[in-house]
C-alpha cells in the first residue's frame, strides 16, 4: 500500500515537472510549431506518400492499383537506368576533382590576403547570389560551340580551333560540374575561411621557429585543422551532386545522346514528361536508398569528429 502511494506521488511529481517544463517552454514550442508543421507537410509527408505511391499504378498523383514491386522493376530494367546512375557517379567524381579542393585553395589564399579583403570575399561569394538557372543559361551561351561563341572567340585570338564544349560527350559532365563549382564554391570557401581563421597563430609561429616554410605550414598546421571539415563537406557535396538536375536540364537537356542525363533528370522525365508518377517515385526511393548509404558514412565521420573533440 505504501509503495502504491509513493508510486502515485512519483508519477504526480514527474507530471508536474513535465507540465512545468512545457509551461516554461510554451513560447518556444509555439514558435517552433509552424516550422514543424511545414517540415511535416513539405518534407516528411511527401517522402511517406512517395514511398507509398512507388508501389502503385498511378493516375496523375492518385494511386489507383497496387502493383507491388512492378514500378521498381520497370525503372531498373529501363535502358536509361544504368546510364543515368553511372552519369550521376561521374558528376560526383568530377565534382570532387574540380570542386572539392577549389574552395579550400581559395580560402587559403583569401586567408593570406592583407589588402582588399572585403572585395575578394564579396567577389568569391558573388556567384552564389546569382539564381542557378541564370548561371546555367549564362554558361550555356559562353560555351556556344561555333566560332562566334564567347570562349571560342577568345581561343580564336590564340589561333586555337573552336571547341565543341558541351557537345563533346566526354567533356559535357566535367564542364557542367565546372559551372556548378563556379556557382557554389563561394559559400564553401567562407566556411573554410572561418575555420582557417580560428587556427591559433601561435601554431604557425611555432612551426616557423621549427623551420617550416609556406607549404609545410599548410601540411602540418592548416590541413590537419580543416581535414575533418574537408571530409564532411566533400561528403555533403557528393550527396548534393548525386541529385544534380537543374544544370543538365537547362544546359544540355541531358544530351548529347544522354551523355549528361542524371538520375534525377530521369526521375523528372518519368513524372513530368510522361506523367508516370509511380515510376518516378520508385526511382526517387532508389535514389534515397543510395543517399542513405552516403548519410551513414557522413554520420560516422561526424561522430568520429565529435568523439575526437571530446577526447581532446
Amino acid at each position: 500500500m505504501k509503495s502504491d502511494i509513493s508510486t502515485v506521488k512519483n508519477i504526480k511529481a514527474r507530471s508536474s515537472i513535465m507540465s512545468e517544463k512545457v509551461k516554461r517552454n510554451i513560447i518556444g514550442w509555439l514558435l517552433m510549431l509552424p516550422g514543424c508543421i511545414c517540415f511535416i507537410v513539405f518534407v516528411i509527408q511527401p517522402i511517406i506518400v512517395g514511398a507509398y505511391m512507388s508501389f502503385f499504378e498511378t493516375q496523375g498523383f492518385e494511386a489507383v492499383k497496387f502493383v507491388g514491386l512492378q514500378n521498381y522493376k520497370d525503372v531498373i530494367t529501363d535502358s536509361l537506368f544504368l546510364k543515368s546512375i553511372l552519369n550521376s557517379a561521374k558528376y560526383c567524381f568530377w565534382s570532387v576533382l574540380i570542386g572539392g579542393f577549389t574552395p579550400l585553395i581559395i580560402a587559403t589564399m583569401l586567408n593570406e590576403v592583407v589588402r582588399g579583403k572585403t572585395f575578394f570575399r564579396f567577389a568569391t561569394y558573388f556567384p552564389c547570389i546569382i539564381p542557378g538557372i541564370v548561371t546555367s543559361i549564362m554558361w550555356k551561351i559562353l560555351f556556344q560551340p561555333d566560332a562566334n561563341g564567347f570562349l571560342n572567340m577568345i581561343l580564336g585570338k590564340f589561333g586555337i580551333e573552336p571547341l565543341q564544349w558541351l557537345q563533346n560527350p566526354s567533356m559535357t559532365i566535367p564542364l557542367i560540374v565546372f559551372t556548378m563549382t563556379w556557382a557554389a564554391f563561394g559559400s564553401t570557401t567562407l566556411i573554410y575561411l572561418a575555420s582557417l581563421q580560428s587556427i591559433d597563430n601561435s601554431l604557425y609561429e611555432a612551426a616557423e621557429i621549427d623551420g617550416a616554410g609556406f607549404f609545410n605550414k599548410i601540411r602540418y598546421v592548416t590541413f590537419p585543422h580543416v581535414s575533418g571539415m574537408l571530409k564532411m563537406l566533400l561528403l555533403l557535396q557528393i550527396m548534393g551532386v548525386f541529385k544534380v538536375f537543374q544544370e543538365p536540364l537547362a544546359m544540355t537537356g541531358g544530351g548529347p545522346n544522354n551523355a549528361s542525363t542524371s538520375i534525377m533528370l530521369t526521375a523528372y522525365n518519368y513524372a513530368f514528361s510522361y506523367m508516370q508518377v509511380g515510376r518516378s517515385t520508385a526511382l526517387g526511393m532508389i535514389i534515397a536508398v543510395i543517399l542513405c548509404g552516403f548519410s551513414i558514412v557522413y554520420f560516422k565521420i561526424t561522430g568520429e569528429k565529435k568523439q575526437r573533440s571530446e577526447v581532446e
Binding site: 496523375g60 535502358s79 561555333d146 557537345q167 560527350p169 544540355t252 548529347p256 513530368f272 510522361y274 506523367m275
Partner: protein, 461 residues
C-alpha cells in the same frame, strides 16, 4: 520579460496566420451564377493587345450571357508545371494544350469527358476525322480543337537572295525533294557561309520535328500485331534518314555548329540570318517575329520536301480542354465562351467580328497574317468564312509566303501509342549521329528501336 513574451506570442500568431493563408482554398463566389475560370488569359504587361482583345470578348460575353461569370486566369500549359497544378486543383476550368499532350493528360485523369456536349453541338460530325482522332481517347472526346497547322518548311529570304537562289520575281527557289534540299543547303553554305538547314534536336522537340522527315523517307514507326504494338523503325528507311542527316553534318557541313538546339535556339538562328531553312510548325514564324523582331517579309514558306514515302506533314495545333471537376452547367458556359471567341463551331457575326479584331491586332503588331490553308472542319465554307474575315488584314506577299499545303501532301497525326516516349528516344539518336562522325548507324537504329520496344511498348502491351 513580459514584453518579450507578448512579442513572441504575436510572432507565433503571425506565423500561424501566414501558414493558414498559404494553404487556404480558393472560394467560389456563391451568388447563384455559373462561374468559370478561363485559362490562357493574356497578362496586361506581357501582351497588352491580347489583354484588350480578351476584355472585348468578355464584354460580348457579359452582354450575351449575363448569368455567366467569367474569371480570367493566366494559367498556361507547360509540361513542368501542369501535373503539380492539376494535382493540387489549381488548373482553371478551361485550359489550352497542344495536340501532343491530350492522351497523357486524359490518362492522368485531368480532363473532363466532353463527348455528350460535343455530340449535342455537332462537333463529332463537323470536325475532320483526323482532327477528332486527336481528342479521342477510348472512344470519348476530351477537347475542342480550335487551331490547327501542318509542319512545313520556312526559308530565310535574305540568305536565299544572297546565295542567288531566287527566281525572277525574287522568290526563293524551294527544294521539292531531299536531294534538292541538300544541294540548296550546300549552295547556301558556299555562298553565304551560313548554315543551309537546321532542326531542333533536344528534349522531345527533336523527335517531334523529325517525324515529318521520317515519314517522308518512308519510315513506319510501329504496328499492331495480334493486339500488341511492335516498334518497326529498325528499317532501311530509318537508316537512310540517319545517314542523310549524318552526311548533312559530316560530309557537306551545312548544319549549324551548335547541334543541341531547342526551338528557341532555332528561332534565334533563323531570325538572325544564321540558318537558311528549317522544318517548322505553322506558328513558328510569328514566334520568331515576336521574340526577335524578325521581319515577316524575310520569311518564306513551302511544303516539306518529298522522299520515298511522299511528302508527309505532321498535323499540329491547339486544343481547349476542361478540368475534370467542372460541372455540366460550367461546361455549357465554356462552350458559349469558346463560340464568343470565335474558336468554336458556331461562328456567328459576333464571333466573326471578334476574329477580325484578332487579325487586326496581329496586323498592327506586324505579325504575319496569312490565309488559312488547312481547316479542322469538313465543311469548305468554314475556311472561306475565316479567310473572308482575314482578307483585309493579310499582310504578306503571297508569292513569297507560299503555302505549306499541297494537294499531294500526306497529312499525318501522331503515332497512336507512346508518341511522347518515341520523341524522347529519337532526340538522343539524332544527337548521337550529329556528334559522332563514326556512328554505326544500323547498330544505333536497332538499339533505339529495341529500347523503345522494351522500355515503353512492352510495358503497355
Amino acid at each position: 520579460m513580459k514584453l518579450k513574451k507578448v512579442i513572441s506570442v504575436v510572432l507565433a500568431a503571425v506565423m500561424f496566420a501566414g501558414l493558414g493563408s498559404a494553404c487556404g482554398p480558393q472560394k467560389n463566389e456563391g451568388d447563384g451564377k455559373v462561374s468559370v475560370k478561363i485559362g490562357f488569359w493574356p497578362r496586361k504587361d506581357d501582351w497588352p493587345e491580347g489583354y484588350e482583345l480578351h476584355e472585348k470578348y468578355l464584354a460580348t460575353m457579359n452582354e450575351k450571357y449575363p448569368d455567366i461569370t467569367i474569371i480570367p486566369d493566366n494559367f498556361e500549359y507547360t509540361p513542368d508545371t501542369f501535373l503539380p497544378a492539376a494535382a493540387s486543383g489549381q488548373i482553371p476550368n478551361l485550359y489550352r494544350v497542344p495536340f501532343t499532350e491530350v492522351e497523357k493528360i486524359v490518362k492522368a485523369g485531368y480532363a473532363a469527358d466532353l463527348t455528350d456536349k460535343m455530340k449535342e453541338l455537332g462537333y463529332d460530325t463537323a470536325l475532320k476525322d483526323s482532327i477528332l482522332d486527336l481528342v479521342t481517347v477510348d472512344g470519348k472526346y476530351y477537347g475542342v480543337p480550335y487551331n490547327a497547322y501542318i509542319v512545313g518548311m520556312l526559308y530565310n529570304v535574305e540568305l536565299f537572295k544572297e546565295a542567288g537562289l531566287v527566281d525572277e520575281n525574287g522568290c526563293p527557289i524551294y527544294p521539292t525533294n531531299f536531294e534538292e534540299l541538300k544541294n540548296t543547303a550546300v549552295t547556301i553554305k558556299e555562298k553565304t557561309g551560313k548554315a543551309g538547314f537546321s532542326f531542333p534536336t533536344i528534349d522531345k522537340e527533336g523527335g517531334w520535328m523529325l517525324m515529318s522527315m521520317a515519314w517522308s523517307f518512308g519510315v513506319d514507326f510501329m504496328e499492331q500485331i495480334d493486339g500488341k504494338w511492335t516498334a518497326t523503325f529498325d528499317s532501311p528507311e530509318m537508316i537512310n534518314l540517319m545517314q542523310y542527316i549524318s552526311d548533312l553534318k559530316w560530309k557537306y557541313d551545312v548544319l549549324p555548329e551548335n547541334i543541341l538546339l531547342s526551338r528557341n535556339d532555332e528561332y534565334q538562328l533563323f531570325a538572325t540570318n544564321q540558318t537558311a531553312s528549317m522544318y517548322a510548325a505553322g506558328d513558328w514564324a510569328n514566334g520568331m517575329i515576336s521574340a526577335y523582331g524578325m521581319s515577316k517579309d524575310n520569311i518564306s514558306n513551302a511544303p516539306v520536301p518529298a522522299g520515298d514515302g511522299g511528302a508527309c506533314s505532321l498535323i499540329g495545333g491547339d486544343i481547349w480542354m476542361v478540368s475534370p471537376d467542372t460541372t455540366p452547367e460550367q461546361i455549357d458556359a465554356i462552350f458559349k465562351w469558346i463560340d464568343v471567341k470565335g474558336d468554336g463551331l458556331a461562328l456567328d457575326d459576333a464571333a466573326v467580328s471578334n476574329k477580325k479584331e484578332q487579325y487586326k491586332t496581329d496586323n498592327e503588331k506586324n505579325l504575319a497574317v496569312v490565309e488559312d490553308e488547312f481547316s479542322i472542319y469538313k465543311h469548305a465554307d468554314r475556311i472561306e468564312q475565316i479567310n473572308d474575315a482575314k482578307a483585309e488584314y493579310i499582310n504578306v506577299d503571297k508569292k513569297i509566303w507560299n503555302t505549306a499545303y499541297s494537294d499531294t501532301l500526306i497529312l499525318k497525326a501522331e503515332e497512336p501509342v507512346d508518341a511522347q516516349q518515341l520523341y524522347g528516344v529519337l532526340s538522343p539518336m539524332l544527337q548521337e549521329v550529329l556528334t559522332n562522325k563514326d556512328t554505326d548507324i544500323p547498330a544505333l537504329v536497332k538499339k533505339v528501336n529495341d529500347n523503345f520496344q522494351k522500355d515503353f511498348l512492352d510495358k503497355n502491351n
